[in-house]
């Protein structure tokens, strides 16, 4: 009897794009950021079915941007990682590096025979960009714009979920992509930034686990946790909420 031709394995790439400007050294933020990587690795190791489907890349940014952990099965990544604070907050560098990395990674995964789902980017920043608005806005457009009719733009454009600890909601709002399905998360006034980042890490981990278990059926490719499960120091908003 005929059996089905083995289907291609599905992969959901995630990127953590994190601000390492000097201000991240205040209020325990950089320590909390380093903990995110450890907690993510633990969470994925604990869920082998999800770990098998999810690939994670980590990119930092300040005045420049660097790949800290290349896209990989993070649960199997044994190297210790820690973020080194540097000056500046260039969103342009962050978005350009992310675009370049996604293009390279998705091409490689496809060449390796995987069925690659749309990537998702968790963007974490504790301040306003030091670039001109028109520059970072253009870099974000270059990362997220694609016209299916003319096939112009970036075909591998990611979904973007911004997290702000100090970044103002009107800037974060512009980084929600797509605007009708993604959301942004920011710090409630008067909260401790390091603690907020820990709460945001839980959102990010939950989203990764839920997305990794359910993507692939024509859905958006990422799932955000129910709003009722957020920490009390985090505010969630969609694009319309922030207009």
């Amino acid at each position: 009897m005929a059996t089905e031709t083995p289907a291609k394995a599905k992969i959901l790439p995630f990127y953590l794009l994190i601000d390492v400007s000097f201000s991240m050294t205040e209020d325990g933020k950089i320590e909390a950021a380093n903990k995110i990587v450890k907690e993510l690795r633990n969470a994925l190791a604990e869920h082998p079915v999800v770990a098998d489907k999810v690939r994670f890349g980590i990119i930092d940014f300040s005045e420049d941007s660097q790949v800290v952990v290349p896209l990989c099965d993070l649960s199997m990544f044994t190297q210790e990682t820690s973020f080194a604070p540097r000056g500046g907050t260039s969103y342009v560098a962050a978005f350009n590096t992310t675009r370049q990395q996604i293009e390279q990674d998705v091409d490689q995964l496809k060449a390796d025979g995987f069925d690659v789902h749309r990537p998702a980017v968790f963007f974490i920043s504790d301040g306003l960009p030091t670039d001109e608005e028109q520059d970072w806005s253009a870099a974000f457009q270059s990362l997220t714009s694609y016209d299916r009719a003319t096939k112009s733009g970036f075909a591998y454009f990611p979904n973007v979920i911004p997290f702000g600890i100090g970044a103002t909601p009107d800037v974060l709002r512009e980084l929600i992509h797509p605007r009708d399905r993604s959301k942004c998360y920011f710090m409630k006034d008067g909260s401790n930034a390091g603690e907020v980042l820990s709460s945001m890490a839980q959102i990010l981990i939950q989203s990764t686990l839920m997305s990794g278990a359910s993507f692939g059926s024509g859905g958006p490719g990422f799932v955000l946790p129910d709003d009722s499960s957020l920490g009390e120091n985090v505010v969630v908003a969609d694009y319309e909420d922030l207009l």
Partner: protein, 298 residues
């Protein structure tokens, strides 16, 4: 007065339960310890009760109560079935179910070195390498086969009662290697008598039926059982190639697996065919007969 597991009313009010303490959070609900109930019971509380089909949930509770005592014991042995709905102002907040017994949990060592107790989900049966990294035991071929027989038996019982599992995936099946038992969880996503499940159906990626990715039919359950047999025996997260399991199955088992993974639903066997095969293999195991298959460990 404490809510008893033995004399449970089908509908309870939150005030009858006393205070509740969260034990775990999932995607759609939290599981909570209940102060004023038998400790063998826990509350599953929905995050968004408005998306739950309350009538479908009540139907699952009533159906269990209408079973014979023997059937009810069988059901409770293989599934954490909804035992009573918890309702307020005409809406369902959640339901009581049996607490997962300790033998269906295990301690894992995470990459950070921290130890954590987790449910022993079937996802830990798919990779010996990942099991080693988590410092948990990985059952040998014979024990994995016995767990497959147990799952077949559970599915045979459910299909006989016109229950379709729907999202039959390694997250929804727990196992205990010592007793060779399985326990099915997330029963509020199951379908009774072809009617919709209480929770909107979800489908685990790479555990879908290509003939009907969003549907729930007995033939889809058999397809997913085929994936389970293949992946648990061959040690794979995503393969759909029945031939990978050839070294681990006898001729009849391999034939059933090939047919179960057919893209054509009506070409798949019923669960009874699997059950007959499992009963025969189980008897052979008990007689300790040498098998005519090889079974290299994965």
């Amino acid at each position: 007065m404490s809510v008893s597991a033995l004399e449970l009313a089908p509908i309870l009010m939150p005030r009858e339960l006393g205070t509740t303490t969260p034990l775990a959070r999932g995607a759609t609900a939290s599981v909570e310890e209940v102060a004023d109930a038998d400790p063998a019971l826990v509350l599953k509380r929905f995050f968004r009760p408005e998306i739950v089909d309350a009538d479908a949930l009540r139907r699952l509770v009533r159906w269990r109560l209408e079973l014979s005592e023997l059937e009810r014991r069988q059901l409770d042995h293989l599934a954490t079935w909804p035992l009573a709905t918890v309702e307020e102002d005409g809406g369902v907040l959640g339901f009581l179910m049996q607490r997962v017994a300790r033998e269906f949990t295990q301690g894992v060592r995470l990459p950070s070195g921290r130890r954590r107790t987790v449910l022993r989900e079937a996802q830990y049966l798919l990779s010996a390498e990942r099991a080693v990294r988590l410092a948990v035991s990985f059952p040998d071929w014979e024990r994995r086969s016995e767990l497959i027989f147990a799952l077949i038996e559970a599915l045979d019982f459910l299909h006989h009662q016109h229950i379709v599992v729907g999202d039959l995936s390694p997250r929804n099946v727990l196992w205990d290697g010592d007793s060779a038992r399985v326990l099915m969880v997330d029963c509020d996503s199951m379908f009774l008598g072809g009617v919709g499940s209480p929770l909107p159906p979800t489908f685990t990626v790479d555990w879908d039926d290509p003939a009907d990715p969003q549907g729930a039919a007995a033939s889809s359950d058999v397809y997913k059982l085929g994936l389970f047999v293949l992946r648990v025996l061959a040690g794979s997260f995503q393969s759909r190639d029945a031939e990978l399991a050839a070294p681990h199955l006898d001729g009849t088992g391999l034939m059933l697996l090939r047919a179960s993974l057919s893209p054509v639903p009506f070409a798949r066997p019923g669960i009874h065919a699997w059950e007959r095969w499992a009963a025969g293999r189980r008897a052979a195991f008990r007689r300790s007969e040498p098998t005519n298959t090889t079974h290299p460990e994965v």
